[in-house]
Symmetry: C2
Subunit: 618 residues, 2 copies
């Protein structure tokens, strides 16, 4: 097709197979970039031409049957034998088998394997090794390797997620990926992007670390391993954008359909209203529409800030990375939870038809929801954020100035909300700041009291972790509100756009308070009267947003082909589309299904069948 | 197999195919009972032997492409022609096509069709008609009929949900189901029961209504149509039990697995703890365990009360039916929402492995979640409950005494919670009563103020429906708490059981308050200090419940075969089971998948393939 630019190729693939995970997805997204980043010049020279020309088709294997988020717990071993200058890869236990890597079961003939490095009798933690698993001639599985698919999943049906184990497999020393590795940045085309806008960054602009095993087995450890945070931030920001996109698409489908579907006469003899006119439907869908906007803005912010922070790091300034890393971890969890739950609400808001794959919604859900567990389990992510917040709290109490967005921590909590009937944006932000500040302090106090009560540090941490989770969630929620408010106050927007988007932004803030009201009321920050303002404002905002609701989802600009939904069609011809969908089902291509002869005929005409078939009656 | 009892046959089928919806499910659950209840003696004599011997295989078709919960909106017509003494069945519009009925697309040769009855130029609303759709000789589709499957769904893969339309199909007058119909009760074996305990009721003990079209076209309308509430109550109580069972099974799987899985050393060099020891995991799972118990008890209560109320109805006392009907509608919605969301939390709590079908959890979710929309869309159900609550409020304000459980409505709201550090069960119930009473009053006040502001009744209803929804939800939640408290105070329980179950019950109550805290605080009912009691109590209850957690799910007594989960196995051998699951996947039965030759070989060895195949590279 003459497409040479990786980004262009990515978009092309996305359009050609908008709804399917490519079984070569990880070849592009992980295997090639890992060679580019982690391999020595000699390794690159050997592997890149093969990988770029699909002689080597590869993936990346980290997760094991018994080990996920905690990478140091991996059990696969790579033991260096200086006599033969080889590594011996082994899966010593059942739980050490690789399990889940995408594109592994049937597609890949190579694999970058994360294994515990042992040399000179010592463990040096997880490192990467290039392992050939299938013949490049005939695709047969090589000796010492066991590989296959893991079987059916909730979704990702077009991806051959696999398992893999090694029986003392020897690979040359040169197969350890030990180049000056480029970690701080990964190329833009590695992001799993669909319709997200990403500006270009130069690929050669990379940061370095170092990790080698010499021929005699001497291990040289990496420098500045913390810089690896950069790629985690980037991946997590892409997950935030993915989650936002999924929720946005679900909103498009559900809101468009709600403008087509009519249900239940409002009064005897009256016309059945569009279901979007029901206040309860607005209550379920409009806050999700607001969330979709908010999460998209959050994803963009994290990505752009990542670029800025990287510039600073190049100038030797690492100060902003911990804040961004903590924010991206929490936002990954916050966004995938919110989006997953929201997509299901959108689906259920389509009534029975939402349950049909014709709606496109089940597919969106099963694509987004694994984001709650992959690339770091969400609770662990939230607690990473909480750990940073606790550090900030401690610094604030010592009188140190906190950087950027976390300056709210440690603020004076003896105050009341300024909320009035108008629901000013500033009062919304202040409310979220107050709640987050209070929950950070409450978690810190809980920690402190458990330690004073004699608990060890890790016991106190675990005994406070529910409150730490609340604090981290409040921090992320505050970020989303504040970032949304900042975005609509940007000078580039027209006043008409601001008018519409201000309602959406207000709804995001108001609904979030009402859904978490106790956290805003426990210390008397809000009065009952102020809560009444918020409740009435929410209902008024539904009426504001209703005339623009369809336009607000049209504005996401997803073509019908990308939505893949009979219910979310731009032209509104949902019933014809559902009927056509049914007609095209494979089972409808014959009038009588073959199972009739096998199962039904013996029931309907038992005289024509043997006694044994009578069994089928039960 | 010699099984003649329908109930026994039901259990046998459930065990033989524990995880699949039978394509004959609606033949048993709807078609046979409908003939039994709605057909004349002559019709029964003709149809029952055929249906019981699988000559006629049937289903029930009500829902249409454009019409679901609002039955009066159905568009399929049955117009009586007195000249030929026939009904003409017709699907006059695209939206009138039947869509969704189970077992319809490929399996059934007959169908009970709900259609708008027209006779002598007048419409008489939806009635039932027996329609043959396929030949009983060769299963071919009959003239005037279009029928097929609706295509892929989120779940229910073994059920041929179908579409059906009629082109002026003539059927004899005798095919209208117009016996003295038996509505007040439906036979016990019609309940979709798995592991629920149901006592027997005599099948002949039925209530009657009447609906006929005479040969000349005269329509005779039914008496006491409101008695049809009875079968709705029964179906909804079975959905509550289904939802509870799904959530309970998910808890079994997730809690057992959390006692096997270990993750992340708690301190450097420490053992990786069982993930069930993490407070955050307890926070996610233990309240769901409590919910599962609560919803099971609620389902049982509604069913048993249904039996009692039916006895009263036989004695001419209809007083209790509206309360029970309202409760069952709301509980159907409350339980399916709670259970669906909870099952997904259980799944996500299993980390990545929860996403594998090997976990059994995706299947449980897709089985339970359609309960949010079938048999009455949940929002509509909640608003039915709210309508009853508004009537009660109005009666209470007029000084009338309210029946049974709704006596809390209209109570004095000027009071404070009695909650202390001990969290007495009585104070929990009082809190839920107060919240429900306040939200019922708030919804009524909102209605009133909108009407006073000039809105019409139906506009005021819609403009208050979010608050009506809140009130109905609070009512159902109160019921579940109160019913749970009553159950553990039953004298039949041993003191050891009460000790354990009291913690579970307290957790259910405490967690529900903290999750909905604003609704308990808005009027100052709880002080901030009391909220602190509840938060500390919740964390303390986690520690109480932890040693019993596995026993509490074992107590549900689901055999491994019913759970169908590698993660939820009784013996805890989850990793071996996951590995075996993978090994048995069909794709692993060959070393090289056939798609290698079609797609991968041309990539890996392009020289052996034509130019056209190069296209596949993209």
């Amino acid at each position: 097709m003459g497409i040479t630019d990786m980004q262009e190729a990515f978009y092309y693939r996305e359009c050609a197979a908008a709804h399917e995970n490519s079984p070569l997805g990880l070849h592009y997204a992980m295997f090639l970039p890992t060679i580019n980043k982690q391999a020595t010049p000699e390794q690159k020279k050997k592997w890149l031409p093969l990988a770029e020309n699909y002689k080597m088709i590869g993936t990346y294997a980290q997760t094991e049957l018994g080990h996920g988020t905690f990478i140091r717990g991996l059990e696969t071993t790579a033991t260096y034998d200086p006599k033969t200058k080889e590594f011996i890869l082994d899966s010593p236990t059942l739980t050490s088998k690789k399990y889940w890597p995408g594109c592994l079961g049937k597609t890949s003939n190579h694999c970058v394997v994360m294994a515990q490095l042992y040399t000179q009798g010592k463990s040096h933690g997880p490192h990467m090794f290039m392992v050939q698993i299938r013949s490049m001639e005939d695709h047969s599985v090589l000796p010492g390797i066991e590989v296959g698919v893991i079987g059916n999943k909730f979704g990702y049906g077009t991806n051959d997620n696999g398992f893999l184990s090694f029986d003392k497999l020897r690979i040359p020393r040169e197969n350890m990926l030990m180049r000056y590795s480029q970690v701080g940045r990964i190329p833009r085309e590695n992001m799993l992007m669909r319709y997200s806008q990403v500006s270009r960054i130069p690929r050669e602009n990379m940061l370095m670390r170092y990790s080698q095993v010499h021929e005699d087995g001497t291990y040289v450890k990496p420098q500045n391993a913390k810089l690896a945070y950069g790629s985690m931030v980037l991946i997590r920001s892409s997950i935030v954008s993915d989650a936002a996109r999924g929720l946005a698409q679900a909103c498009v489908i559900s809101i468009r359909y709600s403008a087509v579907r009519r249900q239940t006469e409002a009064y005897p003899g009256g016309e059945e209203p569009q279901i979007l006119d029901y206040q309860t439907q607005q209550y379920r869908l409009f806050p999700l529409l607001a969330s979709a906007y908010s999460l998209q803005l959050a994803g963009k912010y994290v990505f752009n800030t990542y670029l800025e922070v990287n510039d600073q790091i190049e100038k030797g300034n690492l100060e902003s990375m911990p804040e961004l890393h903590a924010l991206s971890a929490g936002l990954k969890a916050f966004s995938t939870y919110e989006a997953s739950a929201g997509i299901e609400v959108c689906r259920i808001c389509c009534g029975g038809h939402g349950y049909s794959q014709a709606s496109g919604l089940p597919k969106i859900y099963v694509d987004v929801v694994p984001g709650c567990t992959y690339e770091g389990e969400n609770t662990v992510m939230m607690l990473q954020t909480a750990r940073y917040l606790m550090k900030c709290y401690s610094r604030a109490k010592q009188g140190q100035k906190l950087p950027g967005f976390v300056q709210y921590i440690g603020q004076n909590l003896n105050k009341k909300s300024c909320m009035s009937e108008e629901v000013a944006l500033g009062c919304l932000v202040m409310a979220y700041e107050h709640r987050a500040a209070r929950l950070v302090e409450a978690a810190a106090m809980r920690m402190q009291s458990l330690i004073q009560g004699g608990k060890k540090q890790h016991e106190a941490w675990n005994g406070s972790s529910v409150q730490l989770f609340w604090a981290a969630k409040a921090h992320c929620h505050l970020f989303c509100v504040k970032n949304f408010v900042d975005a609509i106050q940007a000078k580039s927007l027209s006043s008409k756009t601001v008018t519409v988007m201000k309602s959406v932004c207000q709804l995001y803030g108001v609904h979030g308070i009402l859904e978490n009201l106790g956290e805003f009321m426990q210390d008397g920050f809000f009065s009952g009267e102020q809560v009444g303002y918020l409740q009435r404002k929410m209902l008024a905002l539904f009426e504001n947003i209703r005339p623009n609701a369809v336009a607000l989802v049209d504005a996401f600009d997803y073509p019908d082909m990308v939505l893949g939904s009979c219910l979310g069609r731009y032209d509104g011809q949902v019933y014809q589309a559902l009927y056509d969908y049914a007609k095209s089902a494979p089972m409808n291509q014959t009038e009588i299904h073959s199972t009739y002869y096998k199962h039904l005929k013996p029931l309907i005409n038992p005289e024509t069948t043997s006694d044994a078939m009578q069994f089928a009656k039960l």
